[in-house]
Amino acid sequence: MNSPATSTQTNSNEQHLVLYFQVHQPRRLNKINFFSIGTHPEYFDDKLNREIIQRVAKDCYLPANALLLDLIRKHPQIKACFSISGVALAQFEEYVPEVLESFRALAQTGNVEFLCETNCHSLASLISADEFQTQVFEHAENIYRHLGVRPAVFRNTELIYSNAIGTQIANMGFKGMITDGVDRVLGKRSTFQLYHHPENSNFKLLLRSNRLSDDIAFRYVQGNAVLSAERYANWLNNMPVTEPVITLGMDYETFGEHYKKTSGIFDFMKGILTKVAKDRKFRFSTPSEVIGLVNSNQALDIDGAISWADERKDLSAWLGNDMQRDAFDMTKSLEASVKRTANTALLNTWRALQTSDHFYYMCTKKLNDGDVHSYFSHYPSPYEAFINYMNVMSDFVIRVKAASAQAELTEAAKQNEYERQHPQVPFWAERKSAEIRQEVFVSH
């Protein structure tokens, strides 16, 4: 395993460019009929999931990875980091193993860092500390198993972050997190500095520049024109030298899926990376390197949760209406009962149902944001998304109840057997027999 953080001397005038790409594909649900609640239908539309992941692999993951690998070979100073959700990893493994292969090739260059997240790309940080930790470790294991590296920096689902989440992640042994540079928490402070947790100065925070990132992810095509690599490089080069860290974070699907190949997005990627590599104003760094090389001067105190989503950069994309809260609360409320069943299949299903996308589909915020939501949704409306999810959940609850009843029965049987083997002696009888033994012993 490489340790890039220690490979270079600290240079305070250096400016770091962090490229962070998010890779995620949810397991989309089957259309579950209201009348089939209780009949335990198959929840996941794996035919659709396979189709989508194969398509996106062909349009995005494979060509983008090939391009990145090629660029790294030509310009070894190019570096990047990925966060690949466990749900995506599992689907790659099942449907398109060559994608995993291409990520492994990137991992082996030593120029690419892989971040940790919740395995099922969930809102577990809002469920319970115990569940959150379980999912984080599960993902770390998966990253190691598939890519052979141990992640050291964390990114929470949709960059959701708060002080409390930071504390939990620090306690799990991570060096830092990436979250969004949200104006309302930064105030006049800069997005382009390294910050730390208010109670733990060793736990660092890299902030995604939402403006510069969205210039690519959402504004690459403007009307008939596309953003040129030269223009974008100029924006970067105009960045004052007093700003040490520029973090660009976006869905990896931006390259080839959201913007198709014909839009020239791959040429843009190639152009911008080559130009930054040649200009040498910036040093490409991974988050771990930044944490090792840059001093953090200020604590960033984030009390209420922030995220990278929509205009409001809060939780409202997933928990912004009654339906979303209703659905999420129902899922959350099952934690104890699902765990009591100790049934791995049920636990896995419960976690797969926590994937944040399910709640995102139910978002009813229209206008600007709604467009983004409907782009990502395979449902005709947020209402159908809610109905379908709740139908699944209603069926799942029945399964959990049945399994708990079974588990209780088993528990009761064990108890009976234990009691048969260890007959209970009433305390008076016990005392008496002890006295008798005493007497017998004494009398000898």
């Binding site: 009929n33 209201f34 009348f35 209406n321 009654d322 339906m323 809260r325 209703d326 659905a327 009813t364 229209k366 005709p380 409306s381 947020p382 209402y383 159908e384 809610f386 109905i387 709740m390 139908n391």
Partner: protein
Amino acid sequence: MRVLMFGWEFPPQISGGLGTACYGLTQALVQEGIDVLFVVPKLMGDEPDNGSKLLSASNVGIRQVVSTDTEEQHFTRFKHFLKEGSFTTLEVPSTLSAYNMAHLQEPVHALAHWNYPVNVAETSVESKTHVTQSSTGSLYSFKGGYGPQLIEEVFRYAQVASEIATSEEFDIIHAHDWMTYPAAIAAKRLSGKPMVVHVHATEFDRAGKQGSEMVYTIEREGLDEADKIVAVSQWTKRILVERYDIAANKIEVVHNGVIPEEKPIPEVKQTLGSHVVTFLGRITYQKGPEYFVEAAEKVLNLFPDAHFIMAGSGDFMPQIIEKVARLKLSSRFHFTGFLKKDEIDQVLASTSVYVMPSVSEPFGITPLEAIQRNVPIIISNQSGVSEVMHHALKVDFWDTEALSQAICSVLHYGSLSRELKRNAGKAIDTITWEKAAQRLNNLYYELTSNINPN
């Protein structure tokens, strides 16, 4: 800008969406600074004053009326007459039996297919034509409405139109639905002014493939003559393109608006329980009542306490009642017949979910009225309203499985019902007549200033 507008209804003399639409639209047009001259068949004197000039067709003298021809001859002669511009005063024969078409002579059945409910009181009036002499010519006393004399009145209305077209100043002609197309054509031929026809419904919506040939012909003629066609939805535009062979670029879609509701939601007087599903509209082929019943049967399997209200009347009512009885659902169904406004409010106040399974609904104002009464709605994809209201559950009218599931979901998931109500309540404020009027104002400008965007 002065618009000569031909309508068939105006509040309070309305029996359906057309009158409401004309009222909302003219009100907004006047706000836009448009001068509207609105011609209706019959004015009762209690129309609300919205700033536009209302002209009752009954008060305009007719100086020529044709006699007993076949309808074909009538049509030809009518046109011919207009071209020549020869005016002669003729007395109208009292037995105007020119429209001796069998299916039109069965008023109740045929007319129940119209997009508008038949006013029973009027249909029972014997179809004698009243022609009175006046100094300006003969005054034809229009019944308005949709009685058995409908076709007859349509052509008389057209004759009145030519009167108006010669005596009034205007820049553009705007006609609402087929009843007024002959009038608009007459006015256009006399004045040479551009003509807009506004399609609120087509014969195809009303009767599917069983529509009246006569009505279809009149519609075709109006659509062909028009310089521009306004359709109330993409759905209607598609019908015009596919069923009437109209070039798509001749049609502009201008969605209807909804007049904000000011009256408070009434207290619920009687309640049928917490699961009340309501169908509100005419019980006719077009509105898909049988799909409502089939879905209800499925819903009752899971919600045995649910109640289904069918508010409205129409020619499908007997067979629907029979169907409900055959399925043994009568104790769960409530047929209210035709309801007045405050009765509708009462029904909606106790409704859990409103359902409109229309087979073909050009626009559909009632679901929006349900939203104004804080009721979540389920509508068919085959409706214009589904193009503008996104906070609704939408199903294909024939898919009773999907419909029943949608009903169950709204009944079962409280947060779904709340979000539908809340978001629809907000979104409805954006569906305004002002928007429609602005679009029309632009259209008028384009047509009168000879700008040809195509």
